[in-house]
């Protein structure tokens, strides 16, 4: 056993951690489809899928069997390369973003010193999934959905970055572990309340969730950019959206709600509890809010949220200089 050095052990542990995080994220993303339908039903005073297995828990198995065995059809008028590439980008870019999220003091995949910037880079790449899907489908509705999606995502990513910059200025680092450690006494939701408000709005818009789901608006666009997709390619968009919800919830917890910090319970439990809270909040938003008109969404982003984040950043900078002018 001469090859069993501490280095090998550390590498193996890191690999196992990465695989476990990947599996948990993908499985919880898939399970969320059932959870969301049950929760929506609860709030809308009906039952939802409760026939398959106890409490409808096996509904996800039925759905998965259906998705896997559906005919995987590529339309003859589609651009094959882009048509196949788009769902892969949709899922891969979001899964890669989980790399930078610190789950507990010891758990996490990568400890990058550009941390949060890596997430913004992946969110930027994620736009192409929708754009390529819409164009490659060769379908008017799909193209319209893709155009809406890219315009919306670009607009909202601008102030999503600015909303976090207040936190970066207060921490003095892009590193996610430093950001969590800086929240040991006070969570960043208190000093960065406006940053939190704008970040959660931008987060919903970037994942194309209700009430910012104009790209797929069923009533007008008949499902938007993934209208021509079937089988597992559509499934990847579908699961990708839920992975986006889990990712945004985990990011909100890490950036504004102190990550793993919390009294009594172990860190992993705190992280999971907070993340589940935000996932449920995402579902509740879908149940409660109507969909605004597309131009209103764009106006709101540029005329309300962007100035708000700029003022927030300005005040944060002034306060940092006032309190601690030396650094």
């Amino acid at each position: 056993m001469s090859w069993w050095t501490p280095q090998v052990e550390a590498t193996l542990i890191a690999m196992v951690q990465a695989v476990v995080i990947l599996l948990v994220v993908v499985i919880s993303g898939a399970l969320l489809s059932m959870v969301e339908r049950r929760l929506l039903a609860l709030w809308q005073d009906r039952y939802g899928p409760n026939r398959v297995g106890p409490f409808g828990l096996l509904q996800i198995a039925a759905d998965m069997i259906k998705i896997f065995f559906k005919e995987d059809w590529i339309p003859p008028f589609a651009d094959r390369t882009f048509f196949v590439l788009a769902p892969a980008i949709a899922m891969a870019s979001l899964l890669l973003s989980f790399m930078v999220i610190p789950i507990t003091p010891n758990w996490g995949v990568a400890d990058l010193n550009i941390g949060i910037l890596f997430f913004f880079a992946m969110a930027g790449i994620n736009v192409y999934a929708v754009l390529f899907a819409g164009w490659a489908s060769g379908n008017k509705y799909a193209l319209l959905g893709a155009l809406r999606a890219s315009a919306q995502t670009l607009s909202y990513e601008v102030f999503m970055g600015l909303a976090v910059m207040g936190i970066v200025a207060m921490t003095g680092s892009f590193n996610m572990r430093d950001i969590v450690n800086a929240q040991e006494n006070v969570w960043f939701i208190v000093p960065q309340f406006f940053g939190f408000c704008t970040f959660i709005i931008a987060g919903i818009a970037v994942t194309h969730r209700h009430p910012f789901d104009q790209p797929e608006a069923e009533q007008e666009l008949a499902d938007g950019y993934h209208i021509e997709y079937s089988g597992m390619k559509w499934g990847m968009f579908f699961v990708g959206e839920y992975i986006g919800i889990v990712l945004m919830s985990a990011l909100l917890v890490t950036l504004f709600f102190g990550g793993w910090h919390g009294p009594l319970l172990p860190p992993i439990v705190w992280f999971l509890l907070k993340t589940i809270f935000f996932v449920i909040l995402f579902v509740l938003l879908r149940a409660a809010l109507p969909r605004p008109r597309y131009d209103k969404v764009m106006n709101f982003g540029w005329k309300v949220c962007l100035p708000l984040t700029l003022v927030n950043l300005l005040i944060t900078g002034a306060m940092i200089l006032l309190i601690d002018p030396a650094t």
Binding site: D79, T81, F82, L85, L112, N113, I114, L117, F118, F120, A121, A123, G124, I125, V127, Y128, L131, F132, G134, W135, L143, A146, L147, S150, A151, L154, E157, G161, G172, F174
Partner: protein, 208 residues
Amino acid sequence: MQIAFYLSGLVAILATLRVVTGTHPVHALLYLIVSLIAVAMVFFALGAPFAGALEIIVYAGAIMVLFVFVVMMLNLGESAVEQERAWLQPKAWVGPAVLTAVLLIVMIVTLVSGDYSGTISGETLTAKMVGISLFGPYLVIVELAAMLLLAALVAASHLGRSDAHDEADLARDRQRELSEQAQASARPARETPIDASQDTRSTQEGKA
């Protein structure tokens, strides 16, 4: 780090070559995105993660999206591919290629003869260092760039302003309509031929 640098550099060069030689506009853009990501990887390998991350966020994530956006809106078909192929004749690219070859020779000679002592994996530049140099020695350039962007923003918002423009157009149209009505009522003698022509037009439409 050296392997990462050379591999991503190779990917960047190959992808950029495909951007130039490709005939399908959207496929060429995909290669350009790959090329930009490869350049970001080069930055990472050189120890400048902040520049690498910004390369992906700004170039691959925002500017290229606008390129793809516009090309997709143009809905280029087979004719565009033919046109691109026609533009790739040797007489179109020989001139620039010769000039760039001269530059390449100059660079190779400089690299071989000069006392070049830099290494690929240097020290890592943090975001803080980039910020200090941006707002220290290069402050004037940053401010000038900000002014330029502000001017572009004002111009774009002026061009995109639709409400006031539409209202002015509507008012002008209404005025023209009113003056035409006034002219028509001032000359009642002309009413009959106009009516006749309208009648014939309506019958033609009925036949069609």
